[in-house]
Symmetry: C2
Subunit: 415 residues, 2 copies
Amino acid sequence: MKAEIITVGSELLQGQTIDTHSMFLSQELLNLGVTVNFHSSVRDDQEQLLALLDLASKRSDFIFLCGGLGPTLDDLTKETLATYLNVTLVQDEETTKRLESIFEGASNLLTQNNYKQTFVFPDGVIFQNQNGTAPGLAVTKHRQTYICLPGPPAELRPMFETSVKPFLLELMPDVHAIVSHPLSFFGIGESMLEDRIQDVVKKSTNPIVAPYAKEYGVTLRLTAKGKTVSEAQRLVAPIRKLILERVGEYCYSERDELLEEVVSTKLRQLNKSLAVVESCTGGLLAHLITSVPGSSQSFKGGSISYTNESKAMLIDEGIVERYGAISMQTAEALAEQTQRKFQTHFALSTTGVAGPNESENKPVGLIYIGLAEKGKPTRVYQIKLKGSRRRIQLLTAKYALFILQQRLKKGETIT
Amino acid sequence: MKAEIITVGSELLQGQTIDTHSMFLSQELLNLGVTVNFHSSVRDDQEQLLALLDLASKRSDFIFLCGGLGPTLDDLTKETLATYLNVTLVQDEETTKRLESIFEGASNLLTQNNYKQTFVFPDGVIFQNQNGTAPGLAVTKHRQTYICLPGPPAELRPMFETSVKPFLLELMPDVHAIVSHPLSFFGIGESMLEDRIQDVVKKSTNPIVAPYAKEYGVTLRLTAKGKTVSEAQRLVAPIRKLILERVGEYCYSERDELLEEVVSTKLRQLNKSLAVVESCTGGLLAHLITSVPGSSQSFKGGSISYTNESKAMLIDEGIVERYGAISMQTAEALAEQTQRKFQTHFALSTTGVAGPNESENKPVGLIYIGLAEKGKPTRVYQIKLKGSRRRIQLLTAKYALFILQQRLKKGETIT
């Protein structure tokens, strides 16, 4: 099965919007075992879109069209596809009722233009839109299936999940179940990770093993197809085991989650509390933690001691004077003072040179992370990072979370 | 002049990477007066790329090819283009010397594969790569110009700015100067902004007025072409004035910069200092400020008082008990205490409900931002935001910066 994705909208060609749909749909289709061979973006221009539809219908089985389903005259995706397929759109009763109920109480805002969205393909499929007014549409002609989806990501993504995916699975009679198992890694570069498992990636076809690199880590996705969910799961199991035997120490989660979510959940489960004190990360570590809903149950607060004066408000000035702000000793003292001040089980500290310039004659990227735990000796980790200020700050904050996560995993905590 | 952009790489079609080049190049080309009609992504597949080149050469004058210039066998953009144009690539002496000098001291790492990158088009143009090993290449055949650029954004973007843009300007004899003037707005929605200036946007062709929406604001870019820079500037001036007359109060910068950069620069210029205390933004405000290099000159530090206990460590417990943590009074007391504690000219405080659940029976999105200034009465701003937790936290932090920027702009500061 071959697919291609067409995104429609002049704003894409003017560089005003980035196309996130092609990436999202390509990932989802790969997981379904559908090969995506082309992405294209075109303007809201009937002639250009007609030419592209002609080309697409010759080279793909599934043609996804994203955007251009809105109520304005510019929006012409559906109408152009109807012209290309030589069919006449028909008004759908249920879609009309839905539209009118959305505008209930504001019917003065419902113009004739809006009714454009109630027209659908005869003999087509309608995907109702839970988050907007434009329904998604699918129509099969000759051997091609055309799938029109609304442009806003907040409409397209849930519609894909709830309606389009089941629709596609129905069209693939030999696939009954798909299992997709993520393995998220931190502290190992993408190329190093791929090096250590490249034989597995190459040899394994069911499950497919696909790496997705983020700015600070890599997620491997193991996707298996089978007659039943448990058959697909059985196929995933040995490959998962093989990968974890090789690089398991870097794996922080087997779910679609961020390091801060893992740490937040684990702290809550263990009923442990945390405070932070940040120099070089300047608030980013606390921000990552508090971006997780419900983090206030375990996160008690923190300090941003960005300057030496503000460090002296927290710890013995002599330490900074003797060893420097960027030192093991300062990281240690900051973490310990913060653990005592906030009366938490854990405290993390960061200090280092985020750049772009060196500081205290220490090089950009030299970082100390302290982890204090109530009733335990404090440990300080030295790391050396490369890259922009932004990258160094982000990686430092993520490393601090990783260090805490490793401690929580070991179950070394005392009650 | 019509252009199209082709990005090459199987990782794009598998959804492992997002295509940022098409957006970047479209913006830049729009500013040069070149219309971009198509974006396409294809796999590292010679046959598919050949078919696309054939199509592109029939519909565009400039064809940009991004990626696939690396040293591995997968990388076949240049080679496929040579096949399509029926030319033989030749080894370039200067490029070879550059490559060998990059690997100097590590010549054991320089394999035969690497020399692939020293082959160029006969009669073509070479754009040396300041940030990598693959040079950019341009070649004109019949009426089409093909421009091959390296895939990594950190290589492509500077190469475009320093080499490709001047190359393109040479090909446009009637354009001698381009002036692009940004106006950055905060606190006004995109549709509201467009509403208030839509007649200007529609009527103005030189300069073109193009809006670029971000998550928290909008930038308008006024781009004029002229025989000289001063002619282009003269064309920009009246349109700039007209727009600022209508929506100037929301404009925070006339440069390509973020709110935190504007605030950081202004604080340094005025030799003023700042501290923050964050409840609902949980470190994000401090993070935005400290993401700016050199911010330590004016930013002294801060506290994250995420829980009521941690607020009680800073201010009179009675205030939180009487009025609640999410209140004018708490925002006021936190800002004033922080200004005194850090002995700064200014202190910002944030408290509110970031969601997803309400708190103290107050609705999600209710926010208080306090601004304390040494020797001046403290002001507290109440705002109501909508959206996800992530969006509410980000907008709150940005609003706090905007409030401080407005104060700094008014010059109400005392020495």
